[in-house]
């Protein structure tokens, strides 16, 4: 049985365990129909030209983990941003771990999607927001919607800000030979609210894991959301991340994606600007080796006038790794005075590494400022000579230059401890002792 058939069969089993009379289940059933029709995307589709899911589909993934698996905090502490206090929503093999989590209902809701989808007190919010910005067409998103049951639920009411950042961490323990998990996150920042989220997926063994995640983020008027994705998983873990963001007037949403690991990673990041004077920022640092594959697909839809979007993705590709950047910007006819900037710079440090980069601009307004730039290059020889002439060996000099190349993406990281962590990850990833703590 191929994976698609298995999923269809599993849906019936899934229905035995959820309330099928709940209105949310109509949404699931609708989504399942779409997935049944469309199936997994193939390389024939333009959006999947450079990323193939064929090999993943041949793996016999378990759809439901058999039992809950416990983890000791001390064994996984390093994956948390333990230098600071945070709220934590932790899942082990797709199942919520209350032991590792720290949730709250104190003025804000930082808790579980399974509660939000079932308890009457959340019904109103779910009716308004659930599956409202996520695509009802894109097959992997609909696959997630069909099986949506668990994930993080964050609701920040008007004028509120949680006392500390929120970490959403998914561990997989290798309890199953191969596991498919489909987290579903819903994040709402009401008017004037502010929120910082760090999301991480971490496999703890070399058993295959595939995560097909959907996150919906709603930023109301004047809200500020910083979202950080740390993708540094093992070489048998694949991730398809579908993030949909709905922004209203004068809201500011920044998504940083740090891709340093994993087998196959696909980031579908979609911004919809439903208001004026909105600021949307997407930044990424990608550093790959081995046969790793990362595909960044961004979309910014400028629907109303006077908004801005900023994209800055830096990639360093070594060994046999492959990178894809596809940045789509749509500016509607009424979205005058739009400022949309897009930058994608890449360095190839191996003859066998590949990058496919493609800006895609669809501009229907005439009074806009849009710019895009893609570069693929090697390191600057003059800069290399400068560092070497100071006694820094070529290998370390190269690493220092790559670090400098990626660095400006980090400037906008607003959690200093996270910034330090990422700096260290970059240094480690580049494989050198730089002689100082970055």
């Amino acid at each position: 049985m191929d994976l698609k058939d298995k999923l269809i069969a599993s849906f019936m089993a899934f229905e035995n365990n959820v309330d099928i009379d709940h209105p949310v289940h109509d949404v699931r059933s609708e989504a399942m129909k779409n997935f049944e029709t469309k199936g997994f995307p193939s390389k024939k589709e333009e959006a999947w030209k450079y990323t193939s899911l064929n090999k993943l589909q041949k793996i016999d993934f378990s759809i439901f983990p058999k039992e809950e698996n416990a983890l000791e905090y001390k064994d996984v502490k390093k994956y948390f941003l333990h230098e600071i206090d945070t709220y934590k929503i932790v899942f082990i093999d797709g199942i919520y771990s209350s032991f590792l989590s720290e949730t709250t209902h104190d003025g804000v809701d930082i808790c579980l999607m399974s509660s939000a989808l079932t308890k009457p007190m959340y019904k109103q919010v779910i009716d308004v927001y659930f599956n409202k910005v996520a695509s009802k067409e894109e097959s992997l998103t609909t696959l997630n919607t069909a099986f949506s049951r668990e994930g993080a639920y964050i609701y920040i009411p008007k004028n509120k800000m949680p006392k500390k950042p929120v970490e959403i961490i998914h561990f997989s323990t290798g309890n199953e030979a191969s596991l498919l998990v489909q987290p579903r996150n819903l994040i709402i920042a009401e008017e004037n609210a502010e929120l910082q989220v760090i999301e991480r997926h971490q496999s703890l063994t070399s058993n295959e894991v595939l995560t097909n995640s959907v996150t919906e983020i709603f930023a109301a008027k004047n809200a500020i959301v910083d979202y950080y994705k740390v993708q540094n998983d093992v070489s048998t873990a694949s991730l398809i991340d579908n993030t949909y963001i709905d922004q209203k007037d004068t809201s500011v949403v920044k998504v940083h994606t740090f891709s340093f690991g994993g087998k196959l990673t696909r980031n579908n990041l979609n911004f919809y600007q439903n208001g004026q004077h909105i600021d949307s920022t997407m930044k990424g640092v990608t550093i790959l080796g081995e046969k790793q594959h990362v595909d960044h697909h961004t979309l910014v839809h400028h629907i109303e006038p006077n908004c801005e979007s900023h994209q800055d993705y830096k990639g360093i590709y070594g060994e046999n790794s492959t990178g894809v950047f596809n940045g789509k910007i749509i500016v509607d006819k009424i979205a005058q005075k739009t400022n949309a900037f897009q930058q994608n710079n890449n360095i190839l440090i191996s003859d066998k590494a590949t990058i496919n980069t493609k800006p895609q601009l669809e501009i229907f307004a005439d009074d806009v400022k849009c710019s895009h730039g893609c570069t693929i290059g090697q390191l600057d020889e003059d800069a290399l000579f400068y560092l070497q002439s100071r006694g820094i060996p070529k290998k370390e000099a190269r690493a220092l230059l790559m670090y400098a190349f990626a660095n400006n993406v980090l400037e906008s990281v607003r959690i200093p401890e996270l910034k330090t962590r990422i700096n260290k990850l970059i240094a480690t990833k580049l494989g050198v002792r730089l002689g100082f703590d970055l």
């Binding site: 600057d380 020889e381 003059d382 800069a383 000579f385 400068y386 560092l387 070497q388 002439s389 100071r390 006694g391 820094i392 060996p393 070529k394 370390e396 000099a397 220092l400 230059l401 670090y403 400098a404 660095n407 400006n408 980090l410 730089l434 002689g435 100082f436 970055l438």
Partner: protein, 250 residues
């Protein structure tokens, strides 16, 4: 200390150095002057080991050792320092961290442990005061957004930190106002000793009022066409380079 014998070098297919002979002893200051395009900066880069230039003939010998196969960092470890005309910007790496890396790499090459942090701090403080560098400046990204003067002062700061045997200052005076020039020159003079040597590459005589050379060489079309004492620099300032070019042709 440094012996350059009949040095020829080219970049791509263009011959730039066409037979340079130069001997620099410890304790000496040499000035190399010459019109634009005469090969001054190339000479500096070739001594420092820039791979882009191909040495086709002759040799660069430091303390009896031919540098032909030495990488730029190895030359640095042996005590060669080049102050760049256009220092490169390295965003995200502070001046302090950069110096730590450079110093510890040099120590590693000599089989020494990392310099202890307190010693490093003391050294940084001492040298930055000498060059009248603000402490805040040291935590800024290397050369990023520095003014021309700041870049040059930072180059001399690096020289002070690394204490080279042979320092080559490539157009260190360009882009400096008179105050900055004085600070930079004072720094170089304080670093001068009987054990080390300085080669000052400059277009103008101005810097040589502050860093007084023992010898002045005029480079023209890839060759040293005239050498003399410090008075030669004054003569050049007065008469320009044309008379030397004419002399060279004769």
């Amino acid at each position: 200390m440094l012996k350059i014998n009949d040095l020829h070098a080219k970049v791509e297919d263009k011959d730039i150095l066409k037979g340079i002979n130069l001997e620099v002893n410890a304790g000496e200051v040499h000035a190399i002057m010459g019109p634009n395009g005469s090969g001054k900066s190339t000479l500096a880069a070739v001594i420092a080991g820039k791979e882009e230039f191909e040495v086709t003939q002759g040799s660069v010998v430091l303390d009896g050792e031919d540098l032909e196969d030495a990488a730029p960092e190895e030359r640095a470890h042996k005590g060669v320092f080049l102050s760049f005309q256009y220092p490169v910007e390295i965003p995200g790496v502070s001046v302090t961290n950069f110096m730590k890396t450079a110093i510890n790499e040099s120590r590693k090459a000599r089989g020494l442990e990392d310099m202890p942090a307190n010693e490093m701090l003391k050294l940084i403080r001492e040298k930055s005061e000498m060059l009248e560098i603000d402490r805040k400046f040291l935590s800024r990204s290397l050369n990023e957004g520095f003014s021309g003067g700041e870049k040059k002062r930072n180059e001399i700061f690096q020289m002070a930190m690394l204490e080279p045997k042979l320092a080559i200052l490539d157009e260190t005076d360009s882009g400096l106002d008179i105050d900055a020039l004085r600070i930079v020159a004072n720094g170089v003079n304080k670093l001068k000793s009987k054990e080390n040597a300085v080669i000052v590459i400059t277009h103008y005589q101005r810097l040589l009022e502050y860093i007084v050379p023992d010898f002045v060489h005029v480079l023209h079309d890839g060759k040293i066409v005239k050498s003399g004492g410090k008075e030669l620099a004054l003569e050049l300032e007065e008469k320009g380079y044309d008379w030397i070019k004419n002399e060279a042709v004769v």
